[in-house]
Subunit: 184 residues, 2 copies
DNA sequence: GTCTATACACAGATAGAC
DNA sequence: GTCTATCTGTGTATAGAC
């Protein structure tokens, strides 16, 4: 009976968890390895470098948001309100699960003025989020209002995630998500 | 003629600048020393450790916000609107100056789930901000609304700082500050 | 594919001359 | 008070056995 082989998906899932809580720079390869249940040496068998792990982790996370959350905005059988409520529920779970908030916001604040290593991935996340919300709000707001309204909602949610982590109280995020529903 | 002696205030001011842009963990003692124009060895003559520099930098920053910005909320000769406009103008400058956004938000996201080294200072900053805004908004909102409204405004501003740094466009912060004025 | 052992680089902190 | 030199710990990454 061979040792259970760990899948790349599982490694990335657990790496995201660690990166979200500890940040990129503070996370050690040994932290990632430990979380997955491997040694550092073995971990390097799967990835070229720490940057490589982070990039693939971000891409896997984007993939998840795209197929599990943002896609709701384009489900034709749902009303706008139903879409937004469903998205809010998923977002709440995603940003409170395992603590650590939003890995993309964390990373942009951590690396914005130092290097642009992950900027492409981070921009893509926020762009997809924007597109999804614009789809939901397009019937309520005119084209020239739409972008601003959606950016405001994303900012409100991200800000509430900061306050949520500061006070260790999920209610702040819940309220921000409810405010976005009220704007419909 | 002796060499020009650098003041502790000046060292802290320049350290804040570096910490804001690079974050705590990624900032090296040599970065701080270089910014101030000293060598690493000399820098250690002024501070015990990196943690010591950061704590004193945060305290100096809080001091600045308290005396230069939050204090405006308690100036008796100004109307609420005048207070808020004056505060917004100062806040815009403070959060866009030198880039780097809000050092307290950056630090809470960077360290929240890893250590609580600076949590006391960060909580104090947000508490003072909250108190100041509550003073300005107290005539407009009832007591049970007041805390939530003010927390929402702070969240909105902090969120806009993230989006601002993401898109390298100060307008997002400007808009968030204007929204707070519209809530008066 | 997993492990242990190790090379290498670099950051935090200290020592001691001037 | 400032410098150069150095110690020490530790984190990234690699080598090589099983």
């Amino acid at each position: 009976m061979p040792l259970q082989k760990i899948t790349p998906e599982e490694i990335l899932y657990k790496s995201i968890k660690v990166f979200r809580r500890r940040g990129y720079y503070r996370t050690k390869m040994s932290d990632l390895a430990k979380e997955v249940g491997l040694t550092k040496g073995t971990f390097y068998h799967h990835f070229e470098s720490k940057e490589d792990v982070m990039r693939k982790a971000l891409m896997a996370s984007i993939q998840w948001f795209e197929t599990s959350l943002f896609s709701i905005a384009f489900e034709p059988q749902l009303s706008s309100k139903e879409k937004l409520e469903k998205m809010s529920e998923k977002a709440f779970k995603a940003f409170t699960d395992n603590e650590g908030g939003c890995i993309f916001a964390n990373t942009i604040l951590e690396t914005a003025h130092v290097e642009d290593t992950f900027i492409k991935e981070i921009l893509r996340f926020f762009e997809l989020w924007k597109q999804a919300l614009m789809e939901v709000f397009k019937e309520k707001y005119s084209n020239d209002q739409l972008t601003d309204v959606v950016q405001q909602i994303i900012g409100d949610i991200e800000g509430s995630i900061i306050i949520m982590q500061l006070h260790k109280d999920n209610l702040y995020l819940k309220r921000a998500l409810n405010r976005s529903i009220e704007m419909l």
